[in-house]
């Protein structure tokens, strides 16, 4: 049995499970879910921009707490955010920010005599600012993505004047990626059911390349068929999208709150 096949199948299963998780979170009643998807998108964008523009760590920390509070009030478990967002971001961004601790000139806070290295207070501030900004922005965007069905998010993007062609491309990519994942999964399962022993590294690479090739040709063939199906139902090159969003009083209030919070954060944290 090849561990490569098993881990690939596990990966496919994880992709499906993540998608189901997002759908479940989006359909749960919660703070963000009550708002019009356009308000959620615009509001979160305002807060992300404020986070990036803000220069005060304390203000960004407040924005982070606000994002975490919003996620919790929208039904997202804190542990989920901690595992999937905060820990991952800390690892990646921490690695990027690490040199800033030592390379940023300033007042030394801590010296490592054996290596002639010193952590400056300015370096610590720069690293903390970077990590906190990324954590806050990632928490905000993850909350938006998990609390908004993908279809609503795309339509909200369209209502913010993202080109219809791009929106349709993203929607169809999301639609067919699951079909291709399903097909790839079946191919790997079929291979697994006929495999005995462990495949060598070279064989695993060959199999992965063959699978990718077959999937590519299947997807090209399918894209042609899908185009014919679109033509058959009246597609003439113009894209018409269905949206049934309606702004209510609470949506206007929500949008005002987002803008107010963003402006205050930028003003105080300038």
């Amino acid at each position: 049995m090849s561990s490569f096949i098993e881990s690939t199948i596990r990966g496919f299963a994880r992709a499906f499970s993540n998608s189901l998780l997002a759908e479940a979170a989006a359909s749960r009643p919660g703070l963000l879910q009550q708002l019009d998807p356009r308000v959620r998108l615009a509001g979160i964008m305002v807060l992300v921009i404020s986070t990036v523009v803000c220069r005060q760590i304390a203000v960004i920390a407040v924005l982070f707490l606000l994002a975490a509070g919003m996620a919790t009030a929208s039904g997202l478990p804190v542990m989920l955010l901690a595992k999937r967002v905060w820990a991952v971001i800390l690892g990646f961004t921490g690695l990027i920010a690490l040199p800033a601790l030592f390379l940023t000139p300033g007042d030394p806070l801590l010296t490592i005599p054996a290596r002639h290295l010193a952590i400056s207070s300015q370096g610590l501030r720069a690293a903390a600012l970077l990590v906190l900004r990324v954590e806050t922005a990632a928490t905000l965007t993850t909350t938006l993505v998990l609390c908004t069905p993908w279809t609503h998010l795309l339509k909200a993007l369209r209502s913010l004047h993202l080109p219809a062609e791009l929106v349709v491309m993203l929607a169809m990519t999301h639609r067919y990626v699951f079909l291709l994942i399903g097909t790839a999964n079946q191919m790997f399962e079929s291979r697994q059911s006929r495999s005995v022993g462990v495949l060598s590294g070279a064989e695993q690479r060959k199999m992965a390349a063959r699978t990718a090739g077959v999937l590519l040709s299947k997807s090209v063939e399918m894209s042609h068929e899908v185009y014919l199906a679109m033509l058959s139902r009246g597609f003439r090159g113009d894209i018409h999208l269905w949206t049934d969003f309606r702004m209510r009083v609470r949506d206007y209030l929500g949008l005002t709150a987002f803008i107010f919070a963003g402006l205050v954060a930028v003003w105080i944290g300038r």
Binding site: T151, R175, A229, H240, L241, W242
Partner: protein, 277 residues
């Protein structure tokens, strides 16, 4: 296989139609006529040209030689460039693809059923009303916010059907509509096609499931290697085992009765069969 032209202009008329996929012939010198309100079954084994013929009738591909007319008007690429003709044609003729995944390219079931009406620029209120009616009619209202990848095979087929039926087309082209469906869903689809008997709807169904033919068609065209080898009422076609054997729709079934071993044509789909010895 040309039929006598009736009083009405035929819905489709093909004259010596041929079509090839990269040099491989799929349809050869085919002539046909389909009258308004007719229910036709295209019967043939895999690769006999059924799906290609449906695509030609839906103007998704065009004959490499020969011609097709739709209600007396030529059905070719030039004609389809005319916005008004194309809009009318797409409103009147609808194709349900064999693979529902090809047809379900929208993010949710509601979007899928609303896609055709949106392209044909229906008014908003009319669109919502008709889409919801269609979802109810097909019994798929609870699925309306689901993405297609979370539907079963039968549900996908129902959504694919709903997505074309919402346009209330006068001509329906169905490519293996009951394939991959469970018995209950199969029977629902057959009931639906039966309902159209005697109405003005023209229904052309490609199938190789002999057991459904009498229910869904008044006339059968048997295809083999891209050509029609027989045409007639279902009872006449289905009672001709030699023809069905030639078209690979049944196979020689070899078995023994005591010491006697013999073979005879075998039709799947029936629970029992009898024959003389």
């Amino acid at each position: 296989m040309d039929r006598t032209v009736g009083k009405l202009t035929p819905t489709f008329a093909g004259q010596n139609v041929s079509f090839s996929y990269e040099g491989i012939p799929a349809i050869r010198e085919l002539s046909f006529q389909i009258e308004p309100g007719e229910r036709i079954a295209l019967l043939g084994a895999n690769g006999s040209g059924k799906s290609t013929l449906l695509r030609i009738l839906d103007a998704l591909c065009f004959p490499s030689s020969g011609s097709v007319r739709f209600r007396g008007e030529p059905l070719n690429q030039d004609r389809l460039q005319d916005q008004q003709f194309a809009l009318n044609f797409r409103r009147q003729v609808a194709l349900v693809f064999q693979n529902p995944d090809v047809q379900l390219f929208n993010p949710t079931v509601f979007d899928e059923v609303a896609y055709g009406p949106l392209q044909l620029q229906w008014g908003r209120e009319d669109l919502v009303r008709r889409v919801e009616q269609m979802l109810d009619f097909m019994g798929i209202s609870p699925l309306k916010d689901r993405p297609p990848y979370r539907l079963s095979g039968g549900e996908k087929k129902k959504v694919a059907l709903a997505s074309v039926l919402v346009l209330d087309p006068e001509v329906l082209l169905l490519d293996e509509p009951t394939a991959t469906l469970d018995p209950k869903s199969q029977s629902q689809v057959i009931d639906l096609i039966q309902q159209w008997k005697g109405t003005s709807k023209t229904v052309v169904t490609a199938t190789h499931q002999l057991e459904t033919v009498e229910d869904i068609a008044d006339r059968v065209l048997v295809l083999e290697a891209g050509g029609v080898i027989a045409a007639g009422p279902p009872s006449e076609i289905l009672s001709n085992p030699d023809l069905l054997l030639r078209a690979n729709l049944i196979h020689a079934h070899r078995h023994s009765h005591g010491a006697v071993v013999h073979s005879h044509p075998h039709l799947h789909g029936h629970s029992r069969h009898e024959h003389d010895h």
